[in-house]
């Protein structure tokens, strides 16, 4: 999976979840960068990503995701 394309797809998921069409994320973006990225939003993001890519994250995976790049690494690993 192309990393640039994946980031664009995740950006769309973030725009929907945060209801912010102007939101631009990078691989370094983390919960401190986006006001509403709280624990409940983390669950929303994870379940949306799981549904989109047909994968399942473990609780350890969820805790290990410190930024968007970590999410991408896990998605790539699980989609393979």
């Amino acid at each position: 999976m192309n990393r640039e394309q994946l980031l664009a797809e995740i950006n769309d998921i973030f725009k929907d979840a945060f209801m912010d069409d102007d939101l631009v994320i990078t691989e370094e973006t983390n919960a401190e960068d986006i006001e509403d990225w709280d624990s409940l939003m983390q669950i929303t993001l994870i379940t949306t990503i799981e549904g989109k890519y047909g994968i399942e994250f473990t609780l350890d995976d969820s805790l290990a995701m410190k930024n968007v790049g970590d999410m991408m690494d896990l998605i790539i690993q699980k989609v393979k």
Binding site: M19, E35, D36, D38, S39, L40, M41
Partner: protein, 138 residues
């Protein structure tokens, strides 16, 4: 009360009001709903569980969104279709809440607006966030 019609409303329009949560409101909510859960009704139990006191019913906090739609945005011509809410921090009796709604989307076919909503306390902490879809009847 506001009287915005669908054509009056633009994406980005915003309405804000404040409301203090009182002991009396908690008592009335208990009477109306019969929700006797100890988190809301038993101070000692709530303290034991690590809260600062009895936690205000999430649905009491959320009920202020009825006011947001029915009085402020759009006001008179409001018909709430749906709400999706997240209760991200506890609310306590005495908290002064600021309720905010911002128009995020408009559906011209069905005269529906989507509001991005948030409720913050007197310490500027967000306690509730989410979205509402509202039909504007005129």
């Amino acid at each position: 009360m506001n009287h915005y019609t669908y054509s009056d409303i633009k994406i980005g329009d915003e309405e804000i009001f404040t409301h203090e949560i009182t002991e009396d409101q908690m008592r009335l909510f208990l009477e109306i709903t019969g929700d006797t859960n100890s988190l809301h009704a038993d101070e000692k139990r709530a303290l034991e569980e690590g809260y600062k006191g009895r936690v205000v019913y999430g649905m009491l906090t959320a009920s202020l969104l009825s006011t947001l739609a029915g009085v402020y945005m759009p006001g008179e011509y409001s018909l709430i279709n749906s709400e999706e809410l997240f209760f991200v921090k506890p609310v306590y009796v005495g908290d002064i809440l600021q309720i905010k709604g911002k128009v995020y989307e408009k559906n011209d076919k069905f005269n529906i607006i989507t509001l991005k909503v948030s409720i913050t306390n007197q310490n500027n902490e967000k306690v509730c966030r989410g979205k509402m879809e509202i039909t504007v009847r005129q």
